[in-house]
């Protein structure tokens, strides 16, 4: 087998996605004049920033072989609490810290359930999903919150070097956690657990501690995403964040994280989120009916997972 640099690059999922993103951008750019405008591109990135940030957390959870469907509910709680804090007059940095702390606490509940008590992740987070959503209702008392102070809304509208703050957050977190997964010992442990939790234990890895940490990190990411969503939309309601977890999981899986665990990267998930947003945005701009969008997104997700399975098959893995 001859190896070329290009061939090696294409084996990486990230490059495949970048390639698809470029092709799609050219196609949409030809079909719609607006698609490649600065304002539209900024718009796409702002849209994906919350999903991209949450996907960084979800990536770690899925790499350990778990799943977290409570992401949207955690985002909801954080959005409510930070919105209330903003109205009460808390300063922006403190709001951000509050959002992170609440997300971390809620994530640690998932983490304890999964690691110490051994509840299967899908069940643990399904439970907390309902539980946290009920808390959103309780906190809002059936009403909604809007008309936030302008300073709070600025979290999503102000720029640094002409790029909106949420986008900086997303890139920063994706890079930090890609580094973390690749270079820190704990990052190795996360991959090891997803490959085989038994082998990880026999290798002397503190599996419980690592699992707890992963769900805490995930909660932290949903917390940051929650603050951004509240600031961007300017309104917090009982259904804020519901369905969010599915978009996050879709972006993560599309970004090459193996739903069975053991493989994936934070950058990949961010690219997955970008790809999904480009499809959605582009289809609106070229006036395709909304129905087609769902069909295409669904098809892409299934095809991307199928390629993983085909890859496994080639390695001799049998599905029965």
């Amino acid at each position: 087998m001859k190896k070329t640099l290009l061939g090696e690059l294409f084996k990486k999922r990230e490059f495949t996605i970048i390639f698809i993103i470029i092709i799609l951008s050219i196609v949409f750019g030809i079909l719609s004049k607006n698609f490649l405008s600065i304002s539209n591109i900024t718009n796409i990135f702002i849209q994906i920033s919350s999903i991209g940030i949450a996907a960084v957390g979800m990536t770690m959870v899925i790499i350990t072989g778990g799943i977290d469907v409570s992401a949207g509910s955690i985002l909801g709680i954080v959005a409510v609490i930070t919105a209330k804090a903003a109205i009460a007059g808390l300063s922006v940095p403190l709001i951000l810290i509050l959002g992170i702390v609440v997300g971390t606490l809620l994530g640690s509940i998932n983490g304890e359930l999964v690691s110490s008590l051994g509840v299967p992740p899908i069940i643990a987070t399904l439970g907390t999903m309902s539980f946290f959503r009920a808390m959103v209702f309780q906190l809002l008392g059936g009403r909604w919150i809007s008309s936030f102070p302008e300073s709070f809304r600025k979290i999503s509208t102000s720029n640094f070097l002409n790029i909106p703050i949420p986008i900086w957050f997303m890139f920063f977190l994706a890079i930090i956690f890609t580094y973390y997964l690749e270079y820190r010992p704990t990052g190795r442990y996360i991959y090891a657990i997803g490959n085989s939790i038994e082998a990880a234990r026999v290798s002397g890895i503190p599996t419980k501690r690592v699992l707890l940490l992963v769900y805490i990190f995930a909660g932290m990411m949903y917390g940051i995403a929650g603050v951004i969503v509240a600031a961007r939309t300017g309104i917090v309601q009982t259904n804020t964040g519901s369905g969010f977890e599915l978009a996050v999981i879709a972006a993560t899986v599309l970004g090459g994280t193996n739903i069975l665990g053991g493989e994936g990267s934070a950058i990949g998930s961010m690219l997955g989120a970008l790809l999904l947003a480009i499809i959605t945005n582009g289809m609106i701009l070229i006036n395709l009916p909304a129905l087609t969008e769902g069909l295409i997104v669904g098809t892409i997700i299934i095809i991307s997972v199928l390629t993983d399975i085909l890859k496994l098959r080639r390695r001799g893995y049998q599905y029965e």
Binding site: P185, R188, A192, N195, S196, G204, P206, E263
Partner: protein, 508 residues
């Protein structure tokens, strides 16, 4: 001719290893035919071929005089082959009746299940085995394992099975349950079916079998009428004369009297084993022999913090240890190379350097607490060279390596931690002859370097060749301790492994 089923010149290779080398086996109608042999002799392979799980490379099977090929387990089942494993395959939540008729339901004219007829038929089936059918409406999981097995026998009878294969059915039964099973087997015999009975408990064979076939190293060592053969003769056939005499032990015990033990295990007990005591000295290879399920692996799991002991104490260099988990064990310098490299030993989707460095990764850090990739690469390269691991690079994914090379990576993973006590659970399982010899040399070299080694092996030649002393376990207790060249032979080991107490005085 009285022959009911015949296997002729069956050959089966796994990779480069010839698991069975042209065996013949003949079953008569209405006989109980026992099949014995040490682990790895090829019994399980033959059963898998007869029950359609795997296909032979060559050879022929005949059923009632006609040649037959079993395409898959379902096909074999339809042709009348019923296999009863020690762990019954059941649908836990369904009742006994439902389990018996699953996939073969008796229907009414309307196409619904005829529960009445099914119940009547179930009672008939159990009556023919002389078992009182009081439990047939209960969920099958509420039955004891022994009754579950009998329910499966009833199911097979309903399918009009012609050949029953029992694979160590009594291994997890109580004595009463085993007694009841033997009675059921006698009843089956009267129904003119053939029974192939695999067991390690040689006493049972004399109790229920008509004939016995001995396998050794993938070959048939002969079929005998049980009336004409003794227990000793069977053990001798299983072990083979050559084994006990021809294999020269390549190393001599260097253990001197004034050396202190590195590890002392005093009267540890748990669910899996009772009252286990032994000492381990630096530079020696202590063999642990016994059959699968004898508890030897579980003792090692305790030393590595995977199973808690209920009683007893463990000392390292005279200090009492509390080993709660593998990371504590590793800190004390005790490491365990697990038996199942694919599920417990290695991360097969990840690359060589990841696998070798994982126990040490926390120590390979430099600036910004970052893993030192250079050091990681060098560590992997060092062991690739030392253990002659055949791989294109340190980034090769484990699942792309041969079994032998994977096993070497597993060795490298633990050697990199500089262990003081190295526990090897079947270190040459599933590797070819060449790699096996390399691993053997490496084990000896490690012992000569002063590492204390515990070696578990199911292969007698291996354990006899390498060990300075051997402890044999049977059903959770120690049944033999051998520490001289004269006493370490396959006959003694097999006797102890099959439950005859062989403990000699004067050993520790």
């Amino acid at each position: 001719m009285n022959s009911f089923f015949k296997a002729e010149e069956i050959v089966k290779n796994f990779g480069g290893v010839r698991a069975i080398k042209g065996v013949n086996l003949e079953l008569k109608r209405g006989e109980v035919h026992a099949l014995v042999g040490e682990n790895g002799a090829g019994k399980s392979t033959l059963i898998k071929i007869i029950s359609g799980v795997i296909q032979p490379n060559s050879g022929k099977l005949f059923l009632e005089g006609k040649e037959i090929k079993f395409l898959n387990p379902k096909h074999a089942h339809e042709m009348g082959i019923a296999t009863v494993y020690q762990d019954p395959l059941i649908y836990n939540k369904l009742s006994v009746i439902e389990n018996i008729f699953l996939g073969n339901e008796i229907k009414t004219k309307n196409g619904t299940i005829d529960w009445k007829k099914q119940e009547v038929k179930t009672k008939e089936l159990f009556a023919s085995l002389e078992i009182k059918p009081y439990f047939i409406n209960q969920p099958i999981s509420s039955l004891s394992i022994g009754l579950q097995q009998i329910a499966l026998i009833a199911k097979a009878l309903n399918y009009s099975a012609k050949i029953f294969i029992f694979d160590e059915p009594t291994a997890i039964l109580t004595e009463t349950e085993a007694g009841r099973l033997f009675k059921v087997i006698q009843k089956l015999k009267k129904q003119k079916v053939s029974i192939l009975y695999i067991s390690h408990r040689l006493e049972e064979i004399f109790e229920i079998a008509d004939r016995v076939t001995v396998f050794k190293d993938g070959k048939n060592e002969g079929t005998y009428n049980v009336k004409n053969i003794s227990r000793d003769k069977i053990v001798e056939l299983m072990a083979g004369k050559i084994l006990s005499e021809d294999i020269e032990r390549t190393i001599k015990t260097n253990r001197t009297k004034n050396k202190l033990p590195i590890l002392e295990v005093k009267n540890i007990s748990s669910y899996y084993y009772k009252n286990i005591s032994f000492s381990l000295y630096p530079g020696e290879i202590l063999g642990f022999s016994g059959l699968i399920g004898s508890g030897r692996s579980e003792v090692m799991h305790t030393l590595f913090g995977l199973i808690k002991q209920d009683e007893g104490e463990i000392f390292l260099h005279g200090n009492k240890l509390k080993i709660n988990n593998p990371s504590t064990a590793m800190e004390f310098g005790i490491v365990y190379l697990p038996d199942d490299r694919t599920s417990e030993g290695l991360f097969s989707k990840l690359d060589i350097k990841f696998n070798i460095s994982i126990p040490l990764i926390n120590k390979l850090k430099k600036k910004f607490l970052k893993v030192d990739k250079k050091a990681e690469e060098n560590l992997a390269l060092k062991y690739i060279e030392l253990l002659k691991i055949k791989a294109p690079s340190t980034s090769t994914i484990l699942s792309n390596l041969s079994g032998g090379n994977q096993q070497k990576v597993l060795f490298a993973k633990w050697l990199s931690t500089n262990p003081k006590v190295l526990i090897l659970d079947k270190p040459t399982k599933g590797v070819d002859v060449e790699v096996k010899a390399e691993i053997h040399r490496e084990i000896v070299r490690l012992a000569e370097d002063g590492i204390a080694i515990i070696l578990i092996s199911s292969e007698l030649p291996e354990i006899i060749k390498l060990s300075d002393r051997i402890i044999v376990m049977h059903e959770g207790t120690v049944t033999g301790r051998f520490d001289t060249k004269e006493t370490i032979n396959s006959k003694n080991l097999l006797n102890a492994a099959t439950g005859i107490r062989m403990i000699r005085s004067g050993t520790n």
